[in-house]
Amino acid sequence: MKISVTVNGEKRDNEVEPRLLLVHYLRDVLALTGTNVGCDTSSCGACTILLEGQSVKSCTVLAAQADGATITTIEGLAGPDRMHPVQEAFREHHGLQCGYCTPGMVMAAVSLIEEVPDLDEAKVREGLEGNLCRCTGYHNIVKAVLAAAKTPARSAS
């Protein structure tokens, strides 16, 4: 079937099999490999992207379901000159160790900051319950998200 999606601001039209998962569409068809596959069972959150601005696990969405939608992946966050505030905060606060969970953590955090205006540590921890870090580097991830939440929102692109 034919799908048409807008990914990181760019319109993409592709012929896909109905069973193609969104994460495989992004990685294998569009070559956007920043989105990782972790557990592949909608537990770990490594494949988190924004679908119509909301965080979703792209291993549990069909590409067909995303037809017509606007998608943002980790590649689409940074502007031409600088990183997105959440990315900057992860660097500043050392919010990553091996980095595998990081794209999903960052996308989940962007959605969380957008959704919850008065984030505190408890809310960040609860809001990131769908993202697992095997390095257990949660403390600095939470610090980074709290710092980013205080950064005035600005368009990165």
């Binding site: 079937m1 099999e17 109905p18 069973r19 998962l21 495989h24 592949d40 069972t41 909608s42 537990s43 959150g45 988190t48 679908l51 909301q54 965080s55 979703v56 696990k57 291993c59 549990t60 969405v61 069909l62 067909a64 379901q65 989940a108 959605s111 969380l112 959704e115 609860e126 809001g127 319950e129 769908g130 993202n131």
Partner: protein, 274 residues
């Protein structure tokens, strides 16, 4: 993991979805948010030959104050239920329990109707609907019919929906002043409940259990003990009466019985049962 191949249709209306279901016998499955069905399909535990994607029928996404009850469209996403000011005020048990489903990403996609129609005994919302005495509306070729929650869950992943019926609405009674509690015991934040309890105390008391049988189940013995004047502790001793809870990697049958008693007692106390 990749699901087995299937055909994909995106009907423009519930009627068209029903026609597609009728034409394809029991080989088709309705796809809403996909967060119950797609994981099963990826594990090849389900392999429907046709997916009927109703996810875009946005007229099935609403939360409406309808007098003595709140009407919720089957395609209303968990995120909309948990953040609904109407539900938080009128049916706080449902709004709160929904905020405990999965994680934020799952709640952005999953729908209340999809979760209920899946009929999973480990899901949170079926027990909540039992405790609240919700009513479900199913649409089929001959029109629509009402199904009380008590008659809906019939077997493991099996509901009263006919193969060519679609769950379209969930109606929950308003209980703004009732005592209520939702107890969910799990090892990791986003996991299914090992055992869960939904309780609402509003003159009479409704109590239902998550993951204590092959279906979501009402704790009838607990309810009748309270009606007979038992205390929360006394009533909780009947939590697993007549039930044969499953054993799995997370818990033995005996451990589930113990958990059910502890969690029912906590739920009753939190809901205001003396």
């Amino acid at each position: 993991m990749i699901p087995a191949a299937f055909d994909y249709q995106r009907p423009a209306s519930v009627d068209e979805a029903i026609r597609l279901l009728t034409d394809s016998g029991d080989e088709a499955k309705i796809l809403a948010g996909g967060h119950s069905l797609l994981p099963l399909m990826k594990l090849r535990l389900a392999a429907p030959s046709l997916l009927i994607d109703i996810g875009r029928l946005r007229d099935l996404s609403y939360i409406t104050d309808a007098g003595d009850h709140i009407a919720i469209g089957a395609l209303t996403r968990h995120h909309e239920v948990e953040t609904s000011s109407v539900l938080r005020a009128q049916v706080p048990l449902l709004a709160h329990a929904t905020s405990q489903v999965g994680d934020p990403q799952v709640r952005h996609r999953g729908t209340i109707g999809g979760s209920l129609a899946h009929g999973d005994p480990a899901s949170d919302l079926p027990a909540v609907c039992l405790a609240l005495g919700a009513t479900f509306t199913a649409a089929g070729p001959g029109g629509s019919r009402q199904i009380p929650a008590d008659d809906f869950f019939q077997g493991f992943l099996e509901t009263a929906l006919e193969p060519n019926e679609v769950l379209v609405e969930i109606s929950v009674p308003k209980v703004p002043d009732a005592g209520w509690s939702f107890q969910k015991f799990n090892r990791r934040a986003q996991d299914w409940a090992i055992v869960g309890v939904a309780a609402v105390h509003n003159g009479s008391t409704g109590v239902a259990l998550v993951n204590m049988a092959s279906t979501p189940v009402r704790a009838s013995s607990v309810e009748s003990a309270i009606a007979g004047g038992a205390s929360a502790g006394e009533a909780a001793a009947h939590a697993s009466d007549g039930l044969d809870p499953p054993a799995d990697l997370n818990a033995s049958t005996e451990y589930r019985r113990h958990l059910a008693e502890v969690l029912v007692r906590r739920a009753l106390q939190e809901a205001g049962v003396a």
